[in-house]
Symmetry: C2
Amino acid sequence: MTQQMETTRRIPLNRDRVLAAAVVLADEAGIESLNMRRLAQELGVVPMALYKHIANKEELLDGMVDVLVGEIDPPVRDAGWKTAVRLRVLSARRSMLRHRWARQVLESRINQTPAVLEYMDSFIGMFLAGGFSADLTHHVMHALGSRMWGFTQELFDDPATPPPASVPPEVQAAMLREIAARFPNIAAVAGAANHDDGSVVGQGCDDQFEFEFALDLLLDGFERFHEQGWTSERAKLDR
Amino acid sequence: MTQQMETTRRIPLNRDRVLAAAVVLADEAGIESLNMRRLAQELGVVPMALYKHIANKEELLDGMVDVLVGEIDPPVRDAGWKTAVRLRVLSARRSMLRHRWARQVLESRINQTPAVLEYMDSFIGMFLAGGFSADLTHHVMHALGSRMWGFTQELFDDPATPPPASVPPEVQAAMLREIAARFPNIAAVAGAANHDDGSVVGQGCDDQFEFEFALDLLLDGFERFHEQGWTSERAKLDR
DNA sequence: GCGGCGGGTGTACGGAGTACACTCATTGAA
DNA sequence: TTCAATGAGTGTACTCCGTACACCCGCCGC
């Protein structure tokens, strides 16, 4: 009886369930709350049980990245390289936005898993299929950098630490004015983003617009180079 | 006597010495070797002594970033925004290359220190002084992203883990051929970088060239926008 | 001379990752 | 039918971190 209860109750762990639980945990509690004990607890299991399915925490993180990469749409067919690249990057971006830990984890990875290499390979394929030389494609990929994953480092943004609720709003305002006075240029461009003033450091600028602004600027640059038959040889001679 | 020896020997610790030692340690042993015990040992002191000079490890890292920012050249005068920005970014890049931990630490920072804000402020100032609108400057700064610090995320590169010396070179070669077969596009663009074949994944492409390629592409784009009086209002209407 | 204070010390705690030896249920071969 | 091998889950314990907290001691102004 007890046996039966147990056998019916216990869905055996496996690598996929571990990864899925890790993703959910990181999504919901933040990547900093993802530790082996907590994850095990979430799965109703003792920490060391996890190690029967993954070698160590690094591999767990690698696996989580693979889950994420799996969510990115494949390249659209018959659309020209520019559209294909653009749409794919924006699809990647949607994945990244669903999983806020993605940027940090992706940047910390040291060895690329096959799934990641697969993504990069097919990404590169879009340029080659569009007639780009391997040479140009190479430099183009470098120029894209992490934008191929749909993210950039946010320099100002990110709620970060919303000032502890204890700080009265008038003091906050005073601090902001103080900052604005010390860093007038920052204040000026921050003000350009949201005319309703107030927040000085980013906050409330349209990240999606920023992202597409830079992406399109890059893609247009790539297009121009492609059309004029740019090669790195020539570029190096021109210097 | 012993007293005298001690007083002459002990140069009292202070925040600057702690930070300097931390920078040296991170430079030489890698950021992952920088921990409070090791740093204290390096300074001939007990770990808790450090906490008399810095509040916690986060603040230590902040301080290290400040040291680094202090190494970046100020903007050149009388040169036009494009040259000024370009030179400054390349100066920043030289700092980053001297301190390999910089990228990781800078990206992990959550609150900007005054020194960092100062740098950003003066950076923004270069565009504004060049006649850029606050609006355009804002988007331009986003587009630059971490390139304002002189780095990008290296997607393939970085020696990472040079395969353990134990693996015989012929096996390595076989593995590379295997990878090249599975990821032909990656192989193609990697091949474009170094025709002497062999290394498939980056390794041996000219990072400095890649960096300047993308930087100039961006700067040219900024210039074009600036000349044609780009505004985000209009851009949003055009979509 | 003395009391306070600031920089250095010692001890110890809690949270992380994980090595290692174990228990126990399942399963395929004898 | 038995029994050994396997593989999943357990328990304990170790190491490495950051750092809280109580302490100690030498200098400096009164």
